[in-house]
Symmetry: C2
Subunit: 371 residues, 2 copies
DNA sequence: GATTCGCGTGAAAACGTTATCACGCCATGG
DNA sequence: CCATGGCGTGATAACGTTTTCACGCGAATC
């Protein structure tokens, strides 16, 4: 069971004829491996002369530090996990693109996972990412309560939340001003003379749905238009929900003359329902959709939309995460971005410029607010 | 420079109050770490009694093997890189979804990167994935020649190519039957009585564009309709290309009465151009698009489309990759999937069932062909 | 009844890093 | 002049696995 003399083991070839290890660089530069490591991690800690030798050796040998070894030893990897509810919703993919750009530039790798709108799957995926040893996670939560995410918040892992914010969750997060966006959209319809303005909303457990309803109510109140409960339909934020909702509205004894749809997929469903019923847009029903999408101009008529700076939402989230990795103890930040009303034909001929803020130029970002 | 006595080093806490290491499991089960490792890697190599003890210990300690250590030691990780040209093209995201599902089930992690249709970026991204030590790469190449990808093919890395196949590239790959798909689409238009059928195609360096043109020509030839060179427009497979192409076609002295658009984004552009010019679809111009998209039914009129089994393309690719990881030396395989013509209003009232193969049921996949 | 074989197990090397400690050196201060 | 301190460098432990080798043991073989 015990024995004395040392053994000679057959070393396994590493991954392949792969490139240099830190040791080969060290030999080539005639320094120790510690110096090589330092030359990369903290360049000014090593004398200029040696640093140069190391850099050159690394270049000629085409040295790429092993991420696995680095992760194993330091316990942290340069990878960031991104979890979205649905890969096929273009809003989310645009957000991911924004994240990707920032992360790429910072030398991080992006691990993407889709939860497919499934709570169990989301949990599973978050666990995997954590086991994978990512440096942080950016995600769009499905659930509305913090409890579902307690395990994600465990210290070594940094978290940034996008779009929907679970109640009581303390974390950096990025949202858009849903209240103001919707208010602007509804006000636009009111300005065009509509009085029976309906709202196709989503599940109230989503903060976005709640906020968009608030914006809707604010706009009506400000215009002195009484709220009609039957004009608010709550769908599921999916295509079918928009379809069903629009059909319900069309069947009302007093049909709305304008509808604001609170989500991009539902907008598609609403369009389908209107076309099917041969209702003319915008003459019989004017339409405004939340979320500007690539296909908005190809719809017939082109869609008036409340655009979110999707890509910028992603970049902001990535910035937030990188900032927190650098300063783990700073207070949580909440970045809120503005929406932009893009007026096209589906809301009717614009008789005057929309009553939102004057075109704000390229800057949408509001000053960060510490929550 | 040299010294004799051993040193006591302060051990760094690993990633955090993280869970058990293999050592703790071993202690708890009163076996060696080797046995624990074996109990997972090759269960039948360890006696049932010990295996049970190990399994129980792992469960109570909530043991998750460190991926980093595993990757470092074995030189291969359970991660797969996926590279697509554009994150915001729903065709690609649907493919990714298919990949994701298979990979997830097999316990692999998906590293997604978008090349943003940029060759340099693509190269960069592939390098990163290789450095990351992924077990394999599934990708939709931007370039048409093998040379651009020679570095990816280096042995330890397995590659599966999707959609477009660079010439001379020897690798597993998955495509759809573009020739047959287009042929069916054009034939459908011919069956409806059209004779001036145009094609909005893409860059010929893409194998997909070439094949779709072939299908177009085959259909015309089969119907005895002479080819008109001015009816084939080659765009860039982006929205703008479809818009420009359609405008060009509309400006022809002898305008086509039907158009097949060879790509989803170009279809959106074509719709926009038609709406702008107030051309009635399908009365003045009938339309068929390659690629069925979620929004196809929301267009006005709903789009007749040549659908690709996008998600299935992804699963097939993932299957291929897993197969190759298991059997590195098997011959390369080429899986070709069928398309499905979905007739909607944009091609005009279907006076008779389309002349494609009879509805094939849920099975699209053709028997794999070794290339 | 001695040899061979196979099987299950444990000890320990190795993977490629990072981070700690110790050491030699030179400058500084008493 | 000697003690103190800082700085640059090298040697090396440690991270948590996988995998090789050796060993003990019981069964099969001659």
């Amino acid at each position: 069971m015990t024995k004395k003399r040392p053994r000679a083991h057959a070393p396994r070839r590493p991954a392949a004829g792969r490139t240099a290890t830190i040791k080969r660089v060290a030999d080539h530069a005639r320094v120790s491996i510690a110096t090589v490591s330092r030359a990369f991690a903290d360049p000014q800690a090593v004398s200029p002369e040696l640093r140069l030798r190391v850099e050159e050796a690394a270049r000629t040998l085409n040295y790429q530090p092993s991420r696995a070894a680095r992760a194993l030893r330091s316990g942290t990897s340069r990878a960031v996990g991104v979890v979205i509810p649905d890969l096929e919703n273009p809003f989310f993919t645009a957000v991911v693109r924004g994240i990707d750009i920032v992360l790429q530039a910072a030398g991080y790798t992006l691990l993407l996972a889709s939860a497919n709108e499934d709570t169990a799957r989301e949990r599973n995926v978050l666990e995997t990412l954590r086991a994978e040893g990512v440096a942080g996670i950016i995600f769009v939560p499905i659930n509305a309560t913090r409890d579902a995410y307690r395990h994600v918040l465990a210290p070594p892992l940094h978290t940034v939340v996008i779009d929907r914010l679970p109640s009581n969750l303390r974390a950096d997060h990025v949202t858009v001003d849903n209240v103001e966006g919707t208010r602007a959209g509804v006000t636009h319809l009111l300005d065009l003379g509509h009085r029976d303005v309906a709202l196709l909303s989503g599940p109230l457990r989503h903060s976005t749905a709640k906020e968009r309803e608030q914006g809707y109510e604010q706009a009506l109140r400000a215009a002195g238009v009484p709220l009609r409960a039957d004009l608010v339909y709550r769908g599921d934020f999916r295509e079918g929900g928009g379809y069903d909702g629009m059909r319900t509205l069309l069947a009302l004894p007093r049909r709305p003359t304008a509808v604001l749809v609170a989500n991009n997929l539902m907008t598609l469903g609403a369009f389908r329902a209107l076309h099917e019923a041969r209702v003319r847009i915008p003459d019989e029903v004017a339409l405004v959709g939340f979320d500007d999408m690539p296909w908005a101009t190809s719809l017939n008529p082109p869609l008036t939309a409340i655009g979110q700076p999707s890509q910028e939402i992603g970049s902001a989230a990535a910035d937030l995460l990188l900032g927190r990795i650098a300063h783990p103890d700073r207070t949580f930040r909440h970045v809120m971005l503005e929406t932009t009303l893009v007026v096209r034909a589906s809301s009717g001929t614009a008789v005057r410029p929309p009553r939102t803020r004057p075109a704000a130029g390229p800057h949408h970002r509001r000053a960060p607010v510490t929550s």
